[in-house]
Symmetry: C4
Subunit: 403 residues, 4 copies
């Protein structure tokens, strides 16, 4: 293989900060946070090597996850009971769907946890084999920014919601304990209708709500961060291809490039097998909650804090959905770039390895999928946006008819 | 061809239980049941060899089928007459469409019967030629489970419906014979409006209704079971490919694999020519009845048994549709797997046979189709689900306008 | 090339009845009929050889066509004037759109006439070069049946409409001349509002209406017949391929097959350049009129002859649309068949010519298009059917809201 | 390379008028006009060579652009304030969206300006390398016609709008200064509600409105002209290919053709990177305003000048959208033509270069995209038209419900 001086420098730099750029280390803080909320129960996430990662059914972490899963199922059960007895509309089903999605999310992360150790080991192997491509300095910063942005936004939304509920409770109660009770009754009326109010029950409901809210936000964050890290691997390969554009490279170079591209395709495939449940849940729930918020936007809002909460939560939801969608679609965008680069190859540098690589990049389709039902590309995002706009138009027209 | 020890063992096992795993034997109980209800009128379904299968127009079975076909046409005729004279809405057309679908189903199975003997012979030839791939132990169990599940569900739904109708009749009649009469008048009013009530006519109508209900359920069951069996053939081929992944195989191995894959493609094509009418009917009717049930769900249900019946029939309809859809889409899913496996081939094992197989799996499209109008893949299922959700949204919005 | 005995017999038969099977002769009666109604103004349609075909701007036939075109434009002008002054809804625009489509149809056929001579010469050349494939006996019969069916249906619809209008007129007039006047006023009120009633004007309007109705029906018939004839060419090629399936053929055979397939592709391309305007008009107008009839179906019909007319015209419209759609889609269906046949080729018969033909049939897309906006395939027909069903659902829901 | 006499003549002609046909000179008048309205702030647009083109952040032109950008943002701010306080429907949001699109357009052209010099240099290099293809005489005429047509249409629309507003103002004011004041208050009420009326403010608002209107029209014009110029390059290449159709060409010819086609693909890619924001804005805003005008068409218009304005502005909007859509889709149409031409190649002229070119044209996808969310092809235009028709149907149905 003909290594240009520039690439050698990259290579050295890669060895120097290889510890820093590894996916295993980058994702570690996120995984630790997830485990506090009973998501992704694997051992060894803080170990220096990904080989220490283990998933065991017989462990405290898995037990914690399963306990949370059953608590959420418990909440879903009372929501369904409430709807069946009292009857419910589009809006009343929100609570059931919210806890239903949370339960499914915990299930999907449990499923992912079983595949996580092997995935991270494969990822590290790819990173090691392609260390000569160097690393992108901006990746860690980018991941930190997105993490901070999404978590801060979610925290603000959560506190605005609590303030909203508390101020409502304060207006309807005399004593301090009454405020808490009113607050709990308002936000979990489906539960207390059957069990009656008790402080233990209130604590339980609060914890369940917090976990569900966290899992809903974390799901998007996790997909976005993983996708960005994978996109970065494709970007490094493309940067390398771009550097040699127009030059005549040896067959060995093309063979190696093809093998590296193939190993990235396999990594995407492995990742997809792990997270495609999460992707389906994430896109489905975001689509549902955007439509719900559009529906809610037709109701007049009385207080300024209700208005602030509504605009914040809706704006944040749109921002989060756009972030996660574009991040995931980025894998597909970046994986298609070699296609164009290969067309520019001068005629005398054609050989069997080149044509194999060309056929590979022309025919392959690299993208995360939602359980194979859809693959996340920019075209698919336009379809999703079109669906939302159509729903909004129908809503606006109906509200004209009604008034 | 280089045969690995592991494959030889599989081969021996295959010879040992070849009788058990053959498609002809697996499908026999289903075909016998179908023939009791005048579907798939071929001779020799219980014979040990598929070569005994015969379709003759001049036979008692075909006569039975044609008699049923005309009885159902008779029912359709009275439904149309009723609608044209009394007028009908979306809901009133249900009866006509129900018997119309049943008539078309009997026609489609008659068309399939003419192609059945050749199809099963081709299937057996494929099984025999690929016996070295062994057989999957779980296939028969899987088919039995699905058969039991769908038939039990359908039976429960039928009895709940009968109970519903009988309890309605019991409230409106004094004598026992009056109950039966009321019951028949309620469920077949379009018939007795013209012919007047008679016991012979009532028996005729009951039998026709039972046959129509059976054919509607059996259609889905039959497609699901056939698809699962075909998917299994692709799975065995993929398991074999997976086993040799990364190893350097001879050109002979690739030639054989390509020929086997091609013969599976042809088998899919032959199956498709036989069942594509049934697939179109199945997907069309399921889509229609789901939309109808969603429409019905807007009406309040008075009694607890009406409610139980409604939730059961709707839930079962959704479950059945999901089962049949995912089973059929499984053929396409499984047939696409070699695509990814071929990309990972090391450079030195490339030869003409490899590139032919690679071109084959990259460009072919293997799936059952609904009379070529659509091919059943996961993407198509998402489109179908999206259509149902859109209809539900329009319904909910309109019900808001009305109230 | 290795010619099998069977093919030789076909070849001899082809020479014997080559005069009968030629596209030029088959389409002649249709073209003559078209010219009576000022469509397709070319000279030499009844000549034995297609080389006698000529299109001249300075000819009586073109003058006739242009006169009709201006008469129809005249009608459109008064329709627009009427709508702008009196105002018009969805239904009132029907007249304008009807004459607008007729005008566009005459324009599209004039455009086709300029390309017709070259197209028929190319078609004859293809027929001559592929005469060894023989001819299909059933083609002429099929074309005659479809012609008879569509023309008879259109004639019946026209007379039912006239009867309807006349019986309406008879009820509102005393004298015989009054009946005619009432009849004309009813069916062409937009014209007489401005010009006042006169017998000359009434004759003019009747002729214009008859020409517009004929062109609307002829458009579909013409596309269907041309497509069936082209599909037949592909079918003959496929029959030949099928006959040699599994046998080892020489490179010369594959080269010839590829060249023949390519010449059929070019013929489709030339045909498409000529008729794609007509295809767009045909599909667009059929879609529009189906939706309009669905809309009309919500209004109650008072008399039995109104009811008969409505059901006949709607049923015939659906039948005609299905016939023309499936005929045009047949070209695509038939052109895709070699794709599957090529996969089954035994390994030892591979050579450069085979792989060129294989690449050709795998990547080409052969279909008539509607001015490149859509290509007519079965999948596209499903989309069109889905659009109609969606419109029907919206209509039914709105009618529920209104009542 | 084998040069035919015909091509040599083309080559000479190209050298003779190379100055005239260059893209840089053709687009210059348009760019100058754009710079008067602060769009595309680059230096050297009137220089004879594209190498004189420069983009500098520190320049008067960029400062002008940024000043306009902030003025438009200022307008958007007051629109949002007005909507949030007074509340707004679908129609009231029109003003905000209009200025929002204008702001985004100025941003998109600023982004394009940074890439403009390199793009024009690349374009000139392509023109120079392919000068042997000659030039199409009709290109400049075509561009001038479209420019004149779109600008004249926009001017007429603008003056009709002003007349409308002035005549409304004249009816509500006594003095001349009062007319101006009324006129300004009517067209910019969201601004004067907060700032109070002043002449300085009125001038500012008028200039901002004129700039926004110009940028909205110019955006479409610019995309259309650039696309037509690029399409012309593909057309010249196709004309050359067509001229040698059926002849046996050297490998060198095919190599050169492939390289030229590839360089056009790269030019499209570079252009796309520059204008894809503008394309997204253009298609989005046209779709929005067409739907808005359809919505407005339901309201009755009182005066003849209101009616004239409405029909003119709507007709012009449709014409402009069709022009820009078909122009952009033309790139894709023209780039697909070699696909068909390559199939007709005689067998003995096949070689490696031919098969490379064939693979290139069969698998590549050349089109401008809207920020990768959609690529502009005829199929996509049909989808867009279908969306508009669906919206119109929903509107008409709802208006039936309301009345």
């Amino acid at each position: 293989m003909t290594i240009s001086p520039q690439e050698e420098i990259h290579g050295h730099a890669a060895v120097a900060d290889s510890g820093l750029s590894s996916f295993h280390r980058t994702i570690a803080p996120l995984t630790v946070m997830a485990q506090c909320f009973a998501l992704l129960p694997v051992h060894g996430v803080t170990a220096p090597s990904p080989k220490a990662l283990r998933f065991r059914w017989m462990s405290a972490r898995v037990a914690y996850t399963i306990a949370v899963l059953f608590s959420l199922l418990f909440m879903v059960f009372f929501c369904i009971l409430y709807i069946l007895q009292i009857g419910g509309t589009f809006q009343d089903a929100q609570c059931m769907i919210f806890y239903g999605i949370a339960t499914a999310t915990y299930g999907a992360f449990l499923h992912l946890a079983g595949r996580w150790p092997r995935l991270v080991v494969q990822w590290s192997a790819v990173e090691h084999a392609q260390s000569c491509y160097g690393s992108s300095k901006s990746l860690r910063l980018k991941i930190r920014c997105i993490t901070a942005l999404l978590l801060a936004g979610a925290a603000i939304e959560h506190f605005l919601n609590e303030y909203n509920n508390l101020s409502f409770a304060a207006r309807h109660a005399n004593t301090t304990s009454g405020v808490v009770q009113q607050y709990m009754l308002r936000s979990h009326h489906h539960l207390f209708t059957y069990l009656g109010y008790s402080h233990a029950c209130a604590v339980f409901a609060s914890v369940a709500a917090a976990l569900a809210t966290f899992s809903w936000n974390f799901m998007d964050l996790f997909i976005a961060v993983t996708s960005i890290a994978l996109t970065d691997r494709f970007r490094l390969l493309n940067r390398n291809l771009q550097a040699f554009r127009g030059k005549r490279m040896s067959a060995e170079f093309w063979k190696q490039t093809r093998e590296r591209y193939t190993s990235l395709m396999y990594l995407t495939d492995t990742l997809n097998l792990g997270v495609s449940h999460v992707v389906l849940l994430s896109f489905g729930s975001n689509l549902y909650f955007i439509c719900l918020q559009l529906f809610n936007s037709l109701n007049p809002l009385k207080n300024w804090y209700e208005r602030v909460y509504f605009y914040w939560s809706f704006g944040f939801l749109l921002l989060r959905t756009a972030t996660v969608s574009l991040s995931v679609a980025g894998i597909n965008d970046e994986s298609r770039l070699p296609r164009v680069l290969m067309y520019a190859l001068p005629s005398d540098s054609y050989n069997d390895e080149v044509s194999r690589f060309q056929q590979l990049v022309t025919t392959c389709h690299v993208a995360l999928t939602g359980l194979s039902f859809f693959s996340v590309t920019r075209t698919m995002l336009l379809t999703m946006a079109g669906t939302i706009v159509t729903y909004e138009i129908v809503l606006v027209q109906f509200s004209h008819v009604n008034t």
